[in-house]
């Protein structure tokens, strides 16, 4: 992020414009429908948050560089230039008020994938030095320390020792030739270590050979959030190197939504080649184990529960049925929110927004959408599958004085798991 200039920013915008982006800009008729899909507009009523408008800098570069009319306008001096002032003003629109949730991309009548373009526009913001300082700092921590939250291997090792001492389970670390390598998000290491315990419990019961990797345990990718291909590539490369060194067949994405986007969809394109392993989301894996009868559960509760679909997993990742199948294992009184599945509303903290203090007030304001959705269900427990969503929702509920316990789906499955009485010494990682 050193040497960021307007010129570099404009070049980065140019590099990000491809045929889909050009088709999208060519098709927009300024109808404003996208605003109705965006919680930053619906909850504030401020039209400046209209999704397509957030792309004005990218649109100007497209028009000026890649259309005949734009070139003529520029020749005649009619063009609206992209300036430092413009980009500074647009920082709030491209970062604070967009979680890359992709809901606008689902409603645009002409089919514009607006979230796809916001992700691309952020590259120009980084290159011109207009990304938010907090997210920049998280990115620097991710590159230098190995985690956006500044968590080091030592912290993970401590958690592993604690879990092993408490439960008698084994958490395999750096086991070469294991079938699966699990990735984690820092938030799971620090805030929700139950997730790691749950993995160990479930995998032991299912007879899965798995491991964590000391050189690559962090799955979150600040580069994806801030919009820096260079940082994103470096972070993905670590996970790829770790997995290929341990010669695993599969890498398990943690629940965390954007981590899944990073490792599953963006990763191979960032490093410029397909992986030598496959990537599976933890919920997909659990659902597969369920379908194959490798895990069994008991005593589903009849407490009224609902599920918050993390945007990156469902709307952008296609993990839609798995969480519902898994909920059916553990709960017999499941209710859907008014808009759910691919129409779910974002928690308000995705796409780097939760790491951005500039956005804090706005994020709390727009959380009202989630609150209304939750209230409509009458559920007494919320289940989700993303540590970031979970923290953001916890904070949101607190701000609105609403009591609702939240749990991660993987943990919930582990709680209802039927475990063999005798520890099976055969669970090996070789």
């Amino acid at each position: 992020m050193t040497g960021a200039t307007l010129e570099r920013g404009i070049n980065a915008f140019k590099e990000q414009i491809n045929a889909p982006v050009a088709a999208f800009f060519s098709s927009c008729v300024s109808c404003g429908i996208c605003a109705e899909a965006c919680l930053f507009y619906t909850e504030t009523g401020d039209p400046k948050y209209t999704p397509i408008r957030k792309l004005e800098p990218l649109r100007r570069v497209w028009e000026q560089e890649y259309t005949l009319v734009g070139k003529i306008k520029r020749l005649l001096g009619f063009e609206k230039p992209v300036t430092d002032e413009l980009l500074e003003e647009w920082r709030e629109l491209l970062y604070d008020s967009c979680t890359l949730c992709g809901r606008c991309s689902m409603v645009c009548p002409v089919g514009n994938d607006i979230a796809y373009m916001v992700r691309r526009a952020r590259e120009g913001m980084v290159a011109s030095g207009n990304s938010p300082v907090d997210v920049q700092a998280a990115a620097v921590r991710a590159v230098t320390i190995g985690s956006p939250m500044g968590i080091k291997l030592k912290a993970l090792e401590t958690q592993i020792r604690n879990i092993e001492a408490d439960t008698g389970l084994t958490i395999p670390l750096d086991v070469e030739g294991a079938d699966y390598m699990a990735l984690l998000s820092s938030m799971e290491v620090i805030n929700f270590p139950e997730y790691i315990e749950s993995l160990a419990r479930i995998f032991k019961q299912a007879g899965i050979s798995w491991t964590l990797c000391s050189e690559a345990f962090e799955a979150t990718n600040t580069g994806i959030q801030i919009g820096s291909t260079d940082i994103a590539r470096e972070l993905v490369q670590r996970a790829v190197d770790g997995a290929e060194k341990l010669r695993v067949k599969y890498v398990i994405s943690p629940e965390c939504g954007h981590a899944y986007t990073a490792i599953r969809w963006d990763g191979p394109n960032l490093i410029g080649r397909p992986y030598k392993f496959r990537v599976v989301h933890i919920l997909e894996l659990l659902d597969e184990l369920r379908a194959n009868g490798r895990i069994k559960t008991r005593n589903p509760t009849n407490q009224c529960m609902t599920f918050h679909d993390p945007c990156s997993i469902v709307r952008k990742g296609g993990v839609l049925e798995s969480p519902r199948n898994l909920m059916a294992l553990v709960n017999s009184n499941f209710v859907e929110m008014p808009d759910h599945g691919k129409w779910n509303w974002c928690c308000g903290g995705g796409g780097g927004v939760s790491a951005n203090t500039d956005a804090e007030e706005l994020r709390t304001q727009v959380f009202r959408r989630k609150k209304l959705q939750l209230e409509a269900t009458g559920a007494t427990k919320l289940v989700t599958a993303c540590a970031n969503c979970r923290l953001v929702i916890e904070e949101g509920l607190e701000a609105y004085n609403m009591e609702l316990p939240i749990e991660g789906l993987t943990e919930l499955v582990a709680q209802h798991l039927i475990e063999d009485e005798i520890p099976s010494g055969t669970q090996d990682s070789s």
Binding site: S30, C31, I33, E36, K48, T67, G111, D113
Partner: protein, 220 residues
């Protein structure tokens, strides 16, 4: 002063050829501008396919999502009314089809004139409603620039002149028919270089959206 008849002959003759040429070449240029930018190959393992979901999205985006409709009914209804009215009067008006038949040697059955007339009225009303919406709706207001008004005028002129010509409301008839044709020529000349181009590029946009989502196993 040129005589109305001379004016009509002029707009029907060489001017029409110029407009069609600009229209066709312009559209080719625009598609070239877009497609030549390319799209890099996606190296991530696919969860679904691209082609069929892309086609599906081309079709499904014609209908609004329920919640969105409830929040913005005017935009959506005015949009439908205008587009349907315009398409019916453009494609199913018998004189239009006859013109097409004379030029290309084939045609299709049209609708009775009173039905097309009603569709034209709906189209004009829809377009006026869309303009009203654009001026008053805060979201549309902030998005709207001069080009949006330009394309509104370019679309409105053929509709209103066509209506006036059909009902013989302007004398002499050759004058209003000539103005109708002139307004269409204006529309054609501007078409490739303005937002009117969405008529064609939306198929591309919807396809990309559906295909990129379909690859991830998402129905968009």
């Amino acid at each position: 002063m040129i005589e109305p008849m001379d004016f009509l002959l002029w707009v029907r003759g060489s001017l029409f050829d110029v407009a069609v040429t600009v229209f066709v070449i312009g559209i080719i240029i625009r598609f070239f501008e877009i497609l030549s930018l390319g799209r890099s190959k996606d190296l991530a393992e696919a969860k679904g396919t691209e082609f069929v979901p892309g086609i599906k999205t081309i079709i499904t985006r014609t209908l609004p999502e329920q919640g969105t409709f409830k929040r913005q009914p005017l935009t959506i209804i005015a949009g439908y009314v205008f587009h349907v009215g315009l398409l019916v009067s453009l494609v199913l008006f018998i004189p239009h089809i006859e013109l097409f038949r004379q030029t290309f040697g084939f045609g299709w059955p049209g609708l009775p004139n009173p039905i097309v007339d009603a569709a034209a009225v709906l189209g004009i009303v829809g377009l006026l409603a869309a303009l009203w919406n654009r001026i008053t709706n805060p979201v549309m207001k902030i998005l709207t620039d001069n080009e949006d008004y330009l394309v509104w005028v370019l679309t409105f002129l053929p509709m209103i002149t066509g209506y006036l010509a059909y009902h013989r409301m302007v004398n002499p008839y050759p004058l209003i028919l000539g103005l109708h044709i002139l307004s269409i020529e204006l529309l054609m000349v501007f078409f490739p270089f303005t937002k009117l181009m969405h008529t064609f590029t939306l198929f591309l946009a919807r396809w990309y959206n559906g295909a990129m989502s379909g690859r991830r196993g998402v129905e968009s």
